[in-house]
C-alpha cells in the first residue's frame, strides 16, 4: 500500500506543541533522567540540554520525524547538542534539517578534545566504582574498555549472548541511577 505524500513530512511546530502537550508525567520524568545521563559526558547542565532540545523542536529549527516517538526524538536532539557542544565549543548550532535519525548522530571520535577525554575518564572511574559489588559487570565492563568484541567477551567469560546483554543493561542502569543522584 502506498503511503501518503505527507507520511514522512516532519511535524509542524503546532503538531510538535500538541505532541509535547500530550506527554504524561512518566514521559517527562524519563526525559529529565535522560538529560542527566547525557549531561555526564557533556559540558552543559542537564536542564540546558533538555531546554535547548525542546526549543529547537518547538521553534522548528529541528525537524521532528512523524514516525518516531517524541521522547526518542528529544533524546536524540539532546545527544546531538551534547556532541556538538563538546566538539566545537561554539554557540549551539542553528541547523534545522534532518533526513533520518542517523543525521542526528554527529559524534566523531576523531574530533573529541581533551575535556571530553577527561569527562570520559571521570565517568569510567565512577562506573567502575559503582560496579564494585558486581563481579560479572566488572568483567564485562573491563572487556569493553579493552576494546574486546561482544563475541570475544562472551567466549572469554563463558557467558551467553543473553547474559552479556543483561549485564550491559545492568551497567547502564547503574549509570542511570548514578546520574539521578547528581545534584543539578
Amino acid at each position: 500500500m502506498a503511503s501518503s505524500p505527507d507520511a514522512h513530512q516532519p511535524l509542524s511546530a503546532e503538531a510538535v506543541a500538541d505532541a509535547l502537550g500530550a506527554l504524561d508525567f512518566d514521559a517527562w520524568a524519563r526525559l529529565s533522567v535522560a538529560s542527566k545521563v547525557r549531561a555526564r559526558v557533556c559540558t552543559m547542565p542537564p536542564e540546558d540540554l533538555l531546554r535547548e532540545a525542546i526549543t529547537r523542536l518547538r521553534s522548528g529549527r529541528r525537524a521532528c520525524p512523524p514516525d518516531v516517538p517524541l521522547i526518542v526524538v528529544i533524546d536524540q536532539v539532546m545527544r546531538s547538542i551534547a556532541d556538538a557542544a563538546l566538539r566545537s565549543r561554539e554557540p549551539l548550532e542553528q541547523n534545522a534539517g534532518y533526513e533520518s535519525l542517523d543525521d542526528l548522530d554527529v559524534a566523531d571520535e576523531r574530533t573529541l578534545d581533551p575535556e571530553t577525554a577527561c569527562l570520559a575518564r571521570q565517568v569510567l572511574q565512577q562506573i567502575k566504582d559503582i560496579l564494585a559489588d558486581d563481579p560479572m559487570a566488572q568483567e564485562v565492563f573491563a572487556a569493553k574498555t579493552l576494546g574486546m568484541s561482544p563475541a570475544d567477551t562472551q567466549q572469554e567469560l563463558k557467558i551467553s549472548a543473553k547474559e552479556y546483554a543483561t549485564t550491559l543493561r545492568r551497567i547502564a542502569r547503574r549509570l542511570a541511577v548514578l546520574s539521578l543522584g547528581d545534584q543539578s
Binding site: F25, A142, T145, E156, G181
Partner: protein, 143 residues
C-alpha cells in the same frame, strides 16, 4: 582482566546511549522503582522537566517573533516602491485615495489609516511599504 585500560570516550558514549535507551523503554513500574531507589519521585522529575519546557515555550516564541520581524523587514527592503510615493504628501494622498476607492483596501486599512489625519509620515510610509511587500500597490502611476 579487571584492570581498566585507557579511558575510551566511545565506550562511555555507548554506555550513555545504552543507559538512556534502557530508561526510555523500561516498563513504567520498573522506572518508578529505579527513580525511587535514587530518593526522588517520578512526579518531581516530571515537574522539573515541565518547568524546562515552559522556558522552552517562551524562548521558541521569541525566536518565532524574531523570525517574523526579520521576514517582514526583508520583504519591505525588497519591495519596489515608486519614487513618487517617497514624498510624504503624495503618499498620504495615495493612501486616502485607496481607502476611498476600494472596499477591499478599506478593509485592509485601519480606522486611523482611513482618516489619514492621525497618521504620521512614518505611519503612511509604513503602510506603503506593507502594501508594496504584499505586491498590492494599485494605481501607482496615477499618483
Amino acid at each position: 582482566m579487571s584492570e581498566m585500560k585507557s579511558p575510551d570516550a566511545a565506550y562511555v558514549r555507548e554506555l550513555v546511549d545504552l543507559a538512556v535507551e534502557e530508561l526510555l523503554t523500561m516498563p513504567k513500574d520498573e522506572f518508578a522503582k529505579l527513580v525511587a531507589e535514587s530518593g526522588t519521585t517520578v512526579d518531581a522529575l516530571a515537574d522539573a522537566a515541565r518547568s524546562v519546557d515552559a522556558q522552552a515555550i517562551a524562548i521558541a516564541g521569541k525566536e518565532k517573533l524574531r523570525c517574523a520581524r526579520q521576514s517582514l523587514r526583508t520583504r519591505r527592503e525588497g519591495a519596489q516602491i515608486p519614487t513618487s510615493l517617497r514624498d510624504p504628501q503624495r503618499a498620504r494622498d495615495y493612501v486616502r485615495r485607496l481607502a476611498a476607492s476600494s472596499s477591499l483596501m478599506r478593509e485592509k486599512l485601519t480606522l486611523a489609516a482611513r482618516s489619514g489625519t492621525a497618521l504620521s509620515d512614518r505611519d503612511v510610509q509604513s503602510i506603503i511599504e506593507d502594501l508594496a511587500s504584499l505586491g498590492d500597490l494599485p494605481d501607482v502611476e496615477s499618483t
